[in-house]
Every structure is written in C-alpha cells, then in structure tokens.
Symmetry: C2
Subunit: 397 residues, 2 copies
Amino acid sequence: MINETYKARLSAKSVIRELAEYATARGEEIGYENVFDYSLGNPSVPTPKAYDEAVIRMHQDMDSMSLHGYSPSLGNTKVRGIVADSLKRRFGVDYETKHIFMTSGAAGALAHAIRLVTKPGDEVLTFAPFFPEYGPYVNDTGAVLKVVPARTEDFQINFEAFSSMMNEKVQAVLINSPNNPSGVVYSEETLTKLGDFLRSKEAEYGHDIFLISDEPYREIVFDGEVCPYPTKFYDNTLSCYSYSKSMSLPGERIGYIAVSPRATDADILAVICGQISRGIGHNCPSATPQMGIASVIDETADLRVYEKNRNLLYDALTDLGFTVVKPGGTFYIFPKALEEDAVAFCQKAKKYDLILVPADNFGCPGYFRMAYCIDTEKVERSIPVLKKFVETEYPDR
Amino acid sequence: MINETYKARLSAKSVIRELAEYATARGEEIGYENVFDYSLGNPSVPTPKAYDEAVIRMHQDMDSMSLHGYSPSLGNTKVRGIVADSLKRRFGVDYETKHIFMTSGAAGALAHAIRLVTKPGDEVLTFAPFFPEYGPYVNDTGAVLKVVPARTEDFQINFEAFSSMMNEKVQAVLINSPNNPSGVVYSEETLTKLGDFLRSKEAEYGHDIFLISDEPYREIVFDGEVCPYPTKFYDNTLSCYSYSKSMSLPGERIGYIAVSPRATDADILAVICGQISRGIGHNCPSATPQMGIASVIDETADLRVYEKNRNLLYDALTDLGFTVVKPGGTFYIFPKALEEDAVAFCQKAKKYDLILVPADNFGCPGYFRMAYCIDTEKVERSIPVLKKFVETEYPDR
C-alpha cells in the first residue's frame, strides 16, 4: 500500500519552490532578465575549469574498471586520503584517511551523520534561522528536530534559549556556519562558548553529545576572513561538507563527513557510516566526481562575485532603512521585513518582480531571505526597483 | 551517542567481502592471475566507448550550470523522458516522463521503492536464493523482510511456500529476475502465476500489494532470449533498474524506478519518491551519469563474455557431477556443494585458490555461488583446478 505519510507531504507546498516556479513563469512572460529572482540558492559561477579538464582526461586515459568500477562504500581510498590531507593542511586537525567518509553532497552527509549519533526518539537541536530541509533530514530518521529561537541582533547562538531547551534526550546539535539563510559566520567566541557548554552537558548527562556541523558555505567567507572551524572547538564534531557551492557542482552530489580524530570512537565512525548506507540506498557517491574533486582539491570556483553582491545589497538595504545583519559569508542576506507579516511583504514585492523568500519556514517569522547568487549586473538593476517597492508600499517609514 | 544498532553490525562479518579480501591478499602472494576469484559481482567488460565520448563532449561543450547544476529531485526531466521512451519502445508499456524516477543505482531505487509502498511493521516477501543486501535494504526502513524458501529444482518461485507465508501484512513482494545468485530468469509462466496470485490476494485483503522488481541484470540474458518483463504481468509493479551491469558503470551510481502506468496512483508515485529522498540524503543522482546514459540509452557493454563463461562453467560443473540449474542470464552460477556444509566446501576450495561463496547468506544453505564476471581465459584455466579439487577432496563421489 502506498505510504500515506509521504503521500500527505504532496499537499504541503514549498514556499521557495513555488516562488522559483513563479519566477520562471514570470520570466517567460516578461523576459527572465527582468525578473529579480532572489529565491534559489543555486551557485551562479562556473565550476573550476581544471575540474572539467580532469574529468575529460580521466575519460580519455583511465581504463574503464578503474574509472567506472565500484568505489569502496566508504569512498575511494585515495580520494579520502587527499581530503584528509587537505583539511589537515588547512585547519591543523590531524585527519587521516580513516576519518573521511565520502558522501553524495551535504544531504548525504547529514543523512549518515544523524543516523550515526542518534536513535529514534532522540532529540536534535538546531538554531533559528535554519535551512528548512533540516526538518525532513532529521525527522525522517526517527529523531526529533527542535529549533532554538534566533538571537536576532547578530544571528549568533541564543545561549539562554539553548540552555533552557537542553535535556538528556539531546544527542546531537546541528549547526550551519556560514549560515543559510542569515549569511552569518559563527565567531570564535560563539564556538568556544558552544564547546564549553556541550562539554559541561556531556559531563552532566554522562553521554556523548555530537556536534553535526553542516559546512557547505565554508569557503564562501568575505572580507579576507577564514571561517572558524568548529572541529577545533569541540572534539565530538562531525564536519559535513559539500562541493556544491565552493566548486559550483551541486548536480554532481559530492561531499564528505570528516570525523574529528578526537571524537569518541573516531577510528570506526566512518566504518559505521558504511553500515548506515546499506539501508538508505547510498553505496558510494559517484566515482567520477570523487576523483574529479580530488584532482583539484584546494581550488574553488571564482567566488568573488558573491562578496561584490553582498556589498551592493547590504549597502542598499541599509540605506533603505532595513534592519539587517551584515553577512560574513554565503550568498544570502536576511533582512527584517517592513511589516510584521513577511509573507505579505514578499507578496507585495512580487508586484515589482522582486522575488524574495519569507522566512517563516526558516524559523524566523518577520524576516526574508535574498539569495544573491545572481549576476552583479542584475543586482545593480534590482536596487532602484527595491527602492521603488519600499517607497511605494511603505511610504510612511 | 553513537547508534549501537549500526555499531553492532561491525562485528557481523560479510562472507563475500572476507573472501574477496582473502583473494586480494592471496593474489599479492602468488600473483592475482593465479587466484580463481569467483567472489565478486563486479562487471569485467568495459563501459561502452560512446558513453565516455558523450561525457567528454559534455565537459567540453556544455555550459557549467547546465552540466553541473542541480537536476530536479525526480531526475533530469529530459533524461526521464528518454528512459520512458526507451522502455516503451522495448517492452510496449506506455511509460511517460512522469513514471520515471532517476536514482543512484538499484540500491537507491530499492531504498525509495520500499519506503514508497510500505510503512514500518509491514512485511515484504522475497524468494530464496536472494541477494543478501535485501536484508538491510528492507529492514532498515522499518518493514520486515521474510524469505520464501527456494524451489531448488529450477529456482523459479516456490508457490506452495509463498502461499503459506502470504498474509495481510504483506504490502510488497520483491523479486529479482534474472537472479543473483542463481542466474535463473523467471519464465512467463512464473510471472503469469505470480500476477494472478497477487491480484487474488489484493482482492482478498482489500489493499494494494506492490511488486518491486529488481532488474539490474535485465540485459544480461543468454541464448538470444529476452527477459520477460514483470510489469507486463502485474499492474502494481515498480521496475527498479541500474546501469551498473548493462553498461559496466557500477561506480557511477545511476539507475531508476519505472512506475507502471497502470499502478495505483501511477501519476504521483515518482513525485512521492521525491519526498522520500529528503530524509535519506538523496537529492538526485549525479548529473553527469544521468546525461551520459541518456546519450547512449539503448547501448550496452559487450556482454557476450558472460555467456561464453556461463557455457564453459555449466559444462564443466555438469561433467564433474554437480547438481546445477543452467543460468539463463546474469554472471552467476549456483551449484549445489558436494557436502551438506557449503561453508566447509568453499573452505576446502580455497586450498586450490578457488574462491567460491557459500550460499547460506543467500537463503540457500548447501549451495555456492560463482561470479563469472572474469576473463574467459581465467575461467578456462580454472576448470582443471576445479577438477583436481573435486577429485582430491571428494574422491568417493
């Protein structure tokens, strides 16, 4: 019989998807260049040329079995070693091959990480604003996602609320820095406090609490900064990564879990992930993108456009009087709407062909998200439109 | 806390994996060409050249976003259409784009199909001998796999046992034809009887019973035959396919579910699969192999070697007095061991550097599997060794 739980989801509509579909339809009407589509977080810069060249060479030179054969279920061993070395070099954490588990993007990484450190009925805490897919990512494992309210002044962690929600059933805490949707990077101070707090709770409860760190935007950080690396602040950390954003490879589904070498049972956690794979249809990520990213491991796409767009939008929004925290990374910005109901606000924006996403689903009602992974030229053209929208719809501000 | 259920699996050893590791280690000692490794079902023939050429062209000519961007969660729409057309042309079933859900190989297809038509606690029946991974594939969803004993005279379905195990809790029946490990192809007679039986049980219980048909070996059929297509015999069929074997692409993780257009809710089952994906870390299969297989949709690797090997081994085993059903397809053969304990039998074979897999895990104790996806030259060299093994260890037969 057809599973009614999954079937029932079809009637729950995705706001982002609906807006993206609207943008596409509207684009067909008036030309897509005239729709200021800030709805979707799809990378807008090309994949590094060296990646494509590496894939071409692999298909020209490698024998078929070595290229297209099964990779081990934990991932291509050589690729795992290259990832470990790169992380060690960059962050000074003593990763070895055994700590790396290759996955189908960050979604695959999270699917394994959550099952690895929770059982059905356990609680997983995350922090608003948060990526709405965390709901099914966590709840479909049988664990229960609970959301700590946002600290809206800077979108760092609201430790007061966090502390009041913490309890013995919490087996994992899920963070995302740089953050989708706020663009905020957790500071060293936040991560230090988080590590201290989790260690104290591990001692109090007498069990491990794992930090699942979702880091697909790790490389998209502005102002010459480097994103503080959560694993350095807390030993029981599973670093979940994807090359979707940094190398503009979202369709190729390639990422990994890096198990902190200082985590409990660090030497076998990747092997246990291999057991989890058996039930969720993940034998190994595709062979070609595994070898592809390994051949250009420390490269990224040209990510500078995102900083340029951030600057333009942050300045424009500030000038227009929006309350907005300056994003330290990602390609998102997360201002407060100009009326309490962000859905109504975004609805009005549509009249100006501005596609903005209300943040109710991100656990932060009253705010909206703009995904500025679009051409700078379009961002520039959108600013007078934004101004017109604000001045027309909210003249008394 | 680390999930103890998954952790406990590390102590359960995989017989196949252990044998394969032994074969590799032994190969390093005496030269791999001297180890007659019949343990692993890895395709041994190259991927069609046209596939590699298509991938190279894609990486040379396509713009980065079109090639590496997110594909929709149900799969690249154009690719789904090409798959539907190909199946329609070949099997006369009226598939359309909406009936095809692209997956990461057959493992991904089964992970979705089982969740689609069962809920935790439901029963799924399969037939011995069966692929041992069906255990975690089914049981990790919360449904319960039950195995109908084998009909050893021809490895078609044992309907008597099937009928006695059928009950209202059975929501899905999982078949695999051509079969791993027996190599047997279900006949039209078997599939007709199966369809009739399931229809009668649907009427009796008043609910749908889905047939999940795992078909990675569909294209590897011998003697000029075509594998009878289960969807033609039963409407509520989900055909789960992988290009791993037919195109020798196991590492690229590419396959699909084809929903019978005559299944209950046929038009929305692929969409529901898209909802299931959210919780199991599958956003879409990798973009490149999706487009790669679509560009060579009706090609296969040169599969003739498997038939040649089948002939050699079947004749040799028969000559040596083994009880063995002639495989109609795949690259497996499944003889009865020469003593009751197939584990002991295979252990003795190792002395002759013959790596055979005892079938206890396949739900068929007393039998063993040979995966003959190896060079014909090696099969030929193995035959005198097989003879020596039998004559030395079982002189009184």
